[in-house]
Amino acid sequence: MAFNRFVSHRAAVVSVFVMLILVVFVALSPLTARYGVNEAVQAPPNYFLTPRANAWLGTDDIGRDLYSRLIYGVRVSLVIGLFSAIISVVLGCLIGSVAGFRGGRFDDVVMRVTDLFLAFPFLVTLLVMRNVLGAIDWLRPVIGDISSVRFIIVLFAVFGWMGVARIVRGQVLALKEREFIEAARAVGASRWYIVRRHLLPNSIGPIMVALTFSVVSAIISESTLAFFGYGPQAGEGATSLGILVGAAKGAVNTGFWWLAVFPCLTLVMIALSINFIGDALRDATDPRMQKES
């Protein structure tokens, strides 16, 4: 049922294929990338070459192949997106279901913190909290240095759970009133049992949707941070989509269009594909839609 509805969302099906191809390319990166991440395509002069046979998408300021770097960059960005989304979804589910189930003061507090953070301009909150988290010395062994990929993942997870918690809480509140939960309660099932056996399985649709949107927002946030020079320092061996998009800024006036166009298009393509997939998932798992069809 749900699968059929998903498949009927044509854009989403195309997006799934796009993402699959991308993931395969990234997973096989030593094979699919034509050069190493810091390898020049040829001896100097090799800088700012236009797209050509030995550099399909052109080269950057030290002669590195943009195509290969995009593959390595997308790898880092996908890792950031997936890990921070998974952590924030797990956190969000826990907090959201507890808030929804217990209600009362805990619920109020969690939802008010969430409102507060979500109302503030995101970039400002992100930059300020990045500095605050980075200034806490005893956290450093756990979350890593301020410019590490690990730190970025933790930072995004710290924000990401709020949106998810809101969704899960809404689900829990709605489901709480349904008959099968009442019935389970009546036969003396423990709260944890109800959460595990009934609430979470019934919320899986919205949670999957939340997961996809978390991935997108983490990837875009990473790019935003990197664009303004606050991004991850992927170390001497790697790059990230954000770093490549950030370099696009400098390529505008010089007219090196490939350095601006390809990273930007890759970012938009990824964001659009995941957004379409999330949209289709939402349609496919929306109970209201179930009734109508």
Partner: protein, 580 residues
């Protein structure tokens, strides 16, 4: 409604408590830097490890040559007057000295603190300056005179000139200054023959390099003087825009910290330095920036103080290998050279400031090559504030890469490369030698140069010190940066390209002519001063000096495009120098 607000307050206070807790929690978590091996060296020769850095001491002391001092007598041109027609006199020299020396927060006390007195000589137009000892770089003093009558108290001018400099002894005088533009009009009392050629000179701030390109292309400014970057010539491509590229005082280099850590061992340092192929690096990183050949002088740009071959032929991979092998170093299973004294491969921390594309590119290019050559180099970067304010001054690095600006006088080398300036307990860790290089012979040479009034002898002393620097592999010069002026050939004429590598860049702008008939020449400034005080922190920016001080403050000497000092028309001729 009420309930919700209460809840939000609770939420907010929880959040605040966690923040406070986290803020206070930093104190009990001491982070120990244990990157280096601390095992005692088995070999007879051992070098200080990182952990022992704070305990390193040097028994170097410099004894200045016995001297009773020096007198410099300046004769001011009888025609020299301020913008109101009042004569420029010895009183102005005296006020400048007092202000530079005594104003709180003055950044230009160097040299003025060597002066005993500044008095009028046979007339108001003669200045007699008594120095405590011989002072070699005296030509750099009195380069921007302050008009004595314009300040209430010459011993503290920190509150003056916040947003306007009203006096002038140059072809222009300031008409108005604001955070968005400065306007100069001709100074009709200027005594020289090089009077201003247009009715107005306007300078405006351009926020960033993109704005700069857009502004000159749109004809909003006539001239810009941007930092060079890869692709800049493409960015400025326009039929009406032309450029002149010259090599100025900015240079970049690698620096090896030798106070403690892996590079305290001179053999290892020499081998490492010999393994860097600067020519290949230059082709990859600096040719796109307009580079023609690597800098070979050392931490100084070509000119009277270097021969230009001090550091050539530094690349010698076979020599590096032989040097290490002879001294008992072997390559381990992972391909890294192993120190016979410790049995481990030294960990080399290469620091740069994050976000600097050129330096990140250099790391990306060079680290794999150095690793392949057997050196365990890794990037250990932090942001600009941490890099320049903490790690470099604390010598908390092994290899660094940064850019410096060489003033025309080589006196800046003394604080940067002498033993007594290495931060140690002896100088309260305030020394400015951030390479930790201590070579007693070189330190003596550099110090002696400061006490040498004869220009030729002084140059020989500096050159000898540079040779020692190369022999000790303490740094590798990389690149002398181009300075480029871009201007609209349809809007501005005259000698626009004549002073582009001068330390006082485009100082000749009063000679530029207006071609498009709008009655003004407009210069776009890459940085804009926050305040105009010529002595305090305000003046700690090249653009501040170029856009304000140089336009109105007359000086005894001016720098030429070739980095030499020449007497200006403020004086009747070379001042007389007598040694006591």
């Amino acid at each position: 409604m009420k309930k919700h607000n209460k809840a939000s307050r609770i939420a907010a206070s929880l959040f605040a408590i966690s923040l406070i807790a986290s803020a206070c929690g930093g104190d009990d978590a001491a982070t120990e830097d244990t990157t280096a091996s601390e095992e005692p060296a088995a070999e007879p020769v051992s070098y200080p490890t990182l952990a022992e850095c704070a305990d390193v001491t040097y028994d170097y002391a410099y004894t200045p040559p016995a001297s009773a001092g020096m007198t410099v007598t300046y004769d001011i041109s009888p025609a020299a007057v301020w913008e109101d027609g009042s004569p420029i006199t010895a009183a102005d020299f005296k006020a400048t000295w007092e202000a530079a020396l005594n104003t709180p927060g003055s950044i230009s006390t160097v040299g003025y603190d060597q002066i005993d007195s500044v008095e009028a000589g046979s007339s108001d137009k003669q200045v007699v300056v008594e120095f405590k000892s011989v002072y070699g770089p005296y030509k750099g003093l009195f380069s921007g005179l302050i008009k004595a009558a314009s300040v209430a108290n010459a011993s503290d001018i920190s509150a003056d000139f916040a947003d306007f400099i009203g006096f002038s002894g140059r072809p222009w005088k300031m008409k108005s200054w604001s955070p968005s533009q400065v306007v100069y009009v001709p100074n009709d009392k200027y005594w020289g023959s090089d009077k201003a050629a247009t009715k107005q000179l306007v300078m405006v701030p351009l926020a960033d390099s993109d704005t700069e390109v857009a502004a000159i292309k749109a004809g909003e400014v006539d001239f810009v003087y941007p930092q060079f970057y890869g692709g800049i010539e493409e960015a400025y491509t326009d039929p009406n825009i032309t450029l002149k590229k010259e090599f100025g005082g900015d240079y970049e280099g690698f620096y090896f910290q030798s106070k403690c850590g892996p590079f305290a061992n001179p053999i290892f340092r020499a081998a490492f330095s010999k393994s860097i192929d600067r020519d290949a690096l230059f082709q990859q990183i600096y040719v796109p920036l307009g580079g023609e050949s690597p800098l070979q002088c050392g931490p100084i740009v070509p000119g009277p103080y270097c021969n230009g071959d001090e550091f050539s032929n530094a690349y010698d991979p076979a020599g590096a290998e032989a040097l290490l092998t002879e001294n008992g170093w072997t390559k381990g299973a992972d391909g890294y050279w192993i120190d016979p004294a410790t049995g481990t491969a030294p960990d080399i921390r290469w620091i740069i400031n994050t976000g600097n594309t050129r330096r990140e590119n250099t790391q990306a290019y060079l680290i794999p090559l150095l690793n392949a050559a057997g050196f365990k180099v890794r990037a250990d970067n932090c942001d600009a504030a941490c890099y320049f304010q903490q790690r470099l001054p604390a010598l908390d690095y092994d290899m660094a890469m940064y850019i410096s600006t060489a003033p025309p006088d080589p006196g800046y080398l003394t604080p940067s490369f002498t033993c007594d300036q290495i931060p140690t307990a002896a100088n309260n860790n305030q020394g400015q030698n951030s390479t930790g290089w201590c070579n007693a012979e070189a330190s003596d040479l550099l110090h002696n140069a400061d006490f040498e009034a004869d220009a030729t002898k002084r140059a020989e002393l500096i050159k000898s010190a540079l040779k020692l620097m190369a022999a000790d592999s303490i740094m590798l010069p990389l690149f002398q940066f181009p300075k480029a002026g871009f201007w609209r050939t349809d809007k501005v004429g005259g000698p626009v390209d004549a002073e582009l590598r001068n330390y006082t860049s485009f100082i000749n702008n009063h000679l530029w002519t207006d071609l498009d008939g709008d009655g003004k020449v407009v210069i776009g400034a890459e940085q804009w001063p926050e305040c105009l005080n010529p002595l305090t922190e305000c003046a700690n920016s090249s653009w501040m000096v170029w856009t304000t001080i140089n336009q109105v403050m007359p000086g005894a000497f001016a720098t030429t495009n070739d980095g030499a000092y020449v007497v200006t028309n403020l004086l009747t001729g070379e001042p007389t120098v007598t040694l006591k």
